[in-house]
């Protein structure tokens, strides 16, 4: 009787240790997906706040302590996620949990020293995942710098297909054209999956007309992406150089990746010692010691001519002002990192270029894992999951393992729910953007774009 109640059908029992920004984002997301969440934090005030806000249980204490974990019910837990501010504590939490309970464990580890060894650590400690928010953010920024005209780049199907977000500039080819017109007049295979206009999300049909200022997301293969962007007059080559303000961990990871793919990097950092450290770690980068918020310094270092500009200071307001300034005096591609997410509406109205929310990048990676785990328990089949447009739209990749109502029927004959698009079908590694005559077969992976949340199975796309 009790065990029945403990394992309610859809939810996993999850313990989240540490209620910082990432912890909070995870709680919000995972509660919405119906999991049973217990949070552990040393700060009673935080526990109080979150238990008032969400339907979760809170325990005050040190998450690495055996008795606290016991109190949180570690024996019945499916997954423990340690996202406190301390790498060592996170690893210890997971190690202890692995010994006590029969659960999977995810630890956040930020320090570059451990990060180098994260694979070794993960295997040795038997963890499901070691996540590094700074590294993930840097990777995300790299995607964007490789395709600077895009606002967001998400990869699917082992990087073969992409979901790209762009904003339509004034007097662009797309302005004032309906989607049906566009697909006819362009020689490219793509599918416009979502349109954001005045803060509202539209999952478009063929007769929707695009306007300047709309943000659109489209799905296409890698090659077709370039093809499409070229035809509508967007530049498609990666940036040549970049200027990074602030020499923190994200800046380090980003610089490292960018140098590897041949983009020259300039980092402006205030702290002299950190500059020296960076210059040792990144011999190919130009390290400038100075105040990155100083206008004169920025001009002197050539902000007006740099091709991309990324402020990565720890303060959101500074980052926002810096990108606003940069986009005013130069044509650089700008990326803004925002840690907190208050006043999202206001932020969206500003011209901040691509916006990165490290905590969402982290929480999404974890949520994707949770979904996969839930699926392995519930026999579902989600491969990957992405959130777009402030989590208002989900892009979900399903694997089709067995015949169902969805398979072997022409898509135009499927009775789909509203606001659903089938973005692409991956059949034996070949990506097709489906038309109404195509159908889904067993063995395919299929990507669905939707404003609904909580889909578990491909059959959820059908009307009940």
């Amino acid at each position: 009787m009790i065990s029945n109640i403990h394992h309610s059908k859809n939810g996993l029992n999850i313990i989240i240790v540490g209620c910082g920004k990432v912890g909070a984002a995870l709680v919000e997301q995972l509660v919405r997906e119906g999991h049973d969440i217990t949070i552990i934090d040393k700060n009673p005030q935080k526990i109080q706040n979150y238990t008032n806000l969400y339907d979760i249980m809170g325990i005050v204490g040190n998450g690495a302590s055996y008795s606290v974990q016991q109190e949180a019910g570690i024996e019945n837990t499916d997954l423990i996620i340690a996202v406190t501010g301390s790498d060592e504590l996170n690893l210890l939490c997971c190690t202890i949990a692995k010994q006590v309970g029969n659960c999977s464990a995810i630890a956040r580890v930020r320090s570059p020293e451990y990060s180098e060894e994260s694979n070794y650590l993960r295997e040795r400690l038997g963890l499901a995942m070691i996540i590094n928010p700074d590294l993930e953010t840097a990777k995300e920024a790299t995607h964007i710098l490789c395709l600077p005209t895009a606002l967001e780049v998400n990869s699917f199907a082992h990087n073969q297909a992409q979901l790209i977000k762009i904003q339509i500039p004034e007097s662009n080819f797309l302005d004032n054209k309906s989607i049906a017109q566009i697909s006819k007049s362009l020689n490219a295979k793509f599918l416009i999956c979502a349109i954001e206009r005045d803060g509202k999300i539209i999952i478009p049909s063929g007769n929707v007309t695009l306007h300047k200022g709309d943000k659109i997301s489209f799905a296409a293969t890698r090659r077709e992406t370039i093809n499409f962007l070229k035809q509508i007059g967007f530049r498609t080559n990666q940036v040549k150089d970049t200027m990074i303000i602030g020499g923190g961990k994200t800046a380090f990871y980003l610089a490292k990746i960018l140098i590897n793919i041949g983009i020259s990097v300039k980092i402006i950092e205030q702290n002299k010692e950190r500059c020296e450290e960076l210059s040792i770690l990144l011999p190919k980068a130009t390290i400038i010691n100075g105040d990155g918020t100083n206008e004169e310094l920025l001009k002197e270092e050539g902000i007006s001519t740099c091709k991309s500009f990324i402020p990565l200071t720890g303060i959101d307001e500074e980052n926002i002002f810096l990108t606003l300034y940069a986009s005013k005096i130069s044509n650089a591609k700008v990326i803004t990192k925002i840690n907190r997410n208050a006043f999202m509406n206001v932020i969206d109205d500003l011209n901040l270029g691509s916006i990165l929310y490290p905590k969402y990048i982290t929480s999404e990676t974890i949520v994707a894992y949770v979904r996969a785990k839930k699926n392995s328990i519930n026999n579902s089949n989600i491969e990957t999951l992405y959130h777009m447009f402030n989590s208002q739209v989900e892009a979900i990749e399903f694997s089709i393992y067995e015949p169902s109502a969805v398979t072997d029927t022409e898509i135009m004959n499927l009775n789909l729910k509203n606001n659903i698009l089938i973005a692409f079908i991956n059949r034996n590694g070949v990506i097709t953007i489906p038309s109404g005559q195509d159908s889904i077969h067993v063995g395919d992976t299929v990507m669905i774009v939707t404003t609904h949340t909580g889909f578990n199975d491909i059959q959820d796309i059908l009307k009940d």
Binding site: M1, I2, I5, H6, S8, G11, N13, V31, D36, I37, T38, P44, T51, N52, L53, Y54, D55, I56, M57, G73
Partner: protein, 487 residues
């Protein structure tokens, strides 16, 4: 204030009441009481209709805060009682609306104070409904709602918090819905066991069910004029044990279900609860020993009465009003202590008393070592300052409400002991007091005004003061007036 969600919750409560009224209808059918059947059916329809109308439109927002939670809870209890008293009036068995309302509030708040001098003259369906109100009120109306309806979201915790007794409300498991279900599973399970044990003691089935309802909710409506007095010693022992068990913090049972015996036995509150029972029983036992022919009777009555008063049930196995002074004083003191938090009992709660006493000890210590730092701990864990503060304020508010109520009913001019114990017995949800409201007497001695004061006390005691008092807060009142204008 999110008034639409309050309307929605009230509608759900009414629908639930309509559903619950099916039970007395069945009883009426079984005993062929067609007048009763008709009156319950008509009230059932009224509840269902109003319920469906007010839940027809979904609330604009499902988010609500403690304020809305408290208002919704208090209003739910009031509406529940008003609708619940109608059958008594319609069947003309309690013709006065005030009396019927008193009886129903006394039922839902698990007080068990009655205005009836002859309970046995009631029809079966009315007796059943009267006892059922105890059972529903015991674990909580909204907790029941939370267990069955799909109100999702963290805000629901505010409903549970407004209704659940104790200084700080915790969950057993992460989800409210599962927590509420677990509580009800334990509650139903224990009620069922008691019914079986009572039937095994040759108690008639109807008596066994209604008595168990009264015990489970720690209510105390007897179905005989002399409460439990005329039943066999075996039955009295069973009732004693179950009264005491229902006064235990339900978390303890949850831990037992999980087979964490150590954890449930180590709960400090439960330990003190049993210590209080042990000591008071011992003193009363020696105090009343000469009144009874043998020691077993004395022990049985002492235990029964201590259990009944401490858990705020209010059954009586004997007229304790004729007991010696010491025993009576102990019982009056026990009235204020009450049961454990997280149980179905009322009173100030053992855990609050623990915090209060520990605060006093801490204060004394600070006289000796003015700079000493010391946190109050319960179960080895430090108690948050907020909880301590809330407990102190609760105690003061309790005293203020208590003093005002005694003053308000003093106009009846029926003696200090009667007035004092009448308020103590209602605000602590016990039932019988001493002298004119003693175990063999009833509350019909009071006038209508005093009855309304006592009704307020019963609700205030059950909802732990603040959810009810917030209804009288100027800004909450203003919000509600605005609501009716917008309607």
């Amino acid at each position: 204030m999110n008034t639409s969600i309050i309307r929605y919750i009230l509608g759900l409560v009414l629908k639930m009441e309509a559903a619950l009224m099916i039970l007395p209808c069945i009883v009426a059918l079984v005993y062929g009481e067609y007048k009763g059947l008709l009156s319950y059916l008509s009230v059932l329809c009224i509840c269902a209709i109003i319920g469906f109308i007010s839940t027809h439109k979904k609330p604009e927002s499902h988010v609500f805060y403690l304020k809305e939670g408290c208002v919704a809870t208090s209003l739910s209890w009031i509406i529940l009682s008003i609708m619940g008293c109608l059958p008594f009036v319609i069947t003309q068995e309690i013709p006065s609306f005030t009396d019927a309302l008193f009886e129903t509030i006394s039922g839902f708040t698990t007080t068990g104070a009655s205005i009836l001098s002859d309970v046995e003259s009631l029809s079966y369906c009315n007796i059943f409904w009267r006892s059922l109100t105890h059972w529903i009120g015991g674990m909580g109306v909204l907790v029941f709602l939370l267990a069955i309806i799909p109100l999702s979201g963290g805000s629901n915790f505010n409903l549970m918090r407004a209704e659940s007794p104790g200084p700080s409300v915790g969950k057993l498991v992460p989800k409210i819905k599962t927590t509420a279900r677990l509580l009800y599973i334990i509650y139903i399970g224990m009620t069922f066991i008691e019914i079986i044990l009572l039937i095994a003691g040759q108690m008639p089935i109807f008596d066994a069910i209604t008595t168990s309802f009264g015990t489970a909710g720690t209510g105390g409506f007897g179905i005989k004029n002399d409460s439990i007095t005329s039943y066999s010693p075996y039955i009295q022992w069973v009732v004693t044990i179950f009264m005491i068990l229902f006064g235990v913090n339900f978390n303890a049972y949850y831990f037992m279900l999980l087979k964490q015996w150590k954890k449930s036995l180590l709960m400090e509150e439960v330990r003190y609860y049993f210590i209080i029972i042990g000591i008071s029983t011992a003193i009363i036992f020696f105090n009343i020993l000469n009144l009874f022919s043998n020691a077993f009777d004395a022990l049985r009555h002492a235990t029964f009465q201590v259990g009944s008063i401490l858990t705020t049930t209010g059954f009586s196995s004997v007229d304790f009003d004729i007991w010696p002074e010491t025993s009576k004083i102990i019982l009056v003191l026990l009235m204020f202590i009450g049961a454990c938090s997280g149980s179905t009992g009322g009173g100030i709660k053992v855990s609050r008393i623990m915090i209060l006493i520990k605060t006093v000890v801490k204060e004394l210590n600070s006289y000796i070592h003015p700079r000493s730092v010391r946190k109050i701990k319960i179960d080895g864990k430090p108690v948050e300052h907020d909880v301590v503060r809330a407990t102190n304020v609760y105690f003061i508010t309790f005293m203020v409400v208590f003093a005002f109520s005694v003053f308000a009913i003093s106009f009846e001019n029926i003696g200090l002991v009667t007035s004092f114990t009448a308020v103590a017995a209602t605000i602590n949800n016990i039932g019988p007091g001493l002298e004119l409201v003693g175990p063999t007497q009833n509350f019909s001695v009071f006038g209508p005004f005093s009855k309304y004061v006592l009704m307020f006390d019963m609700l205030a005691g059950r909802l732990e003061l603040f959810p009810l008092l917030i209804l009288f807060h100027p800004s909450a009142l203003k919000d509600m007036v605005k609501k009716s204008n917008n309607y």
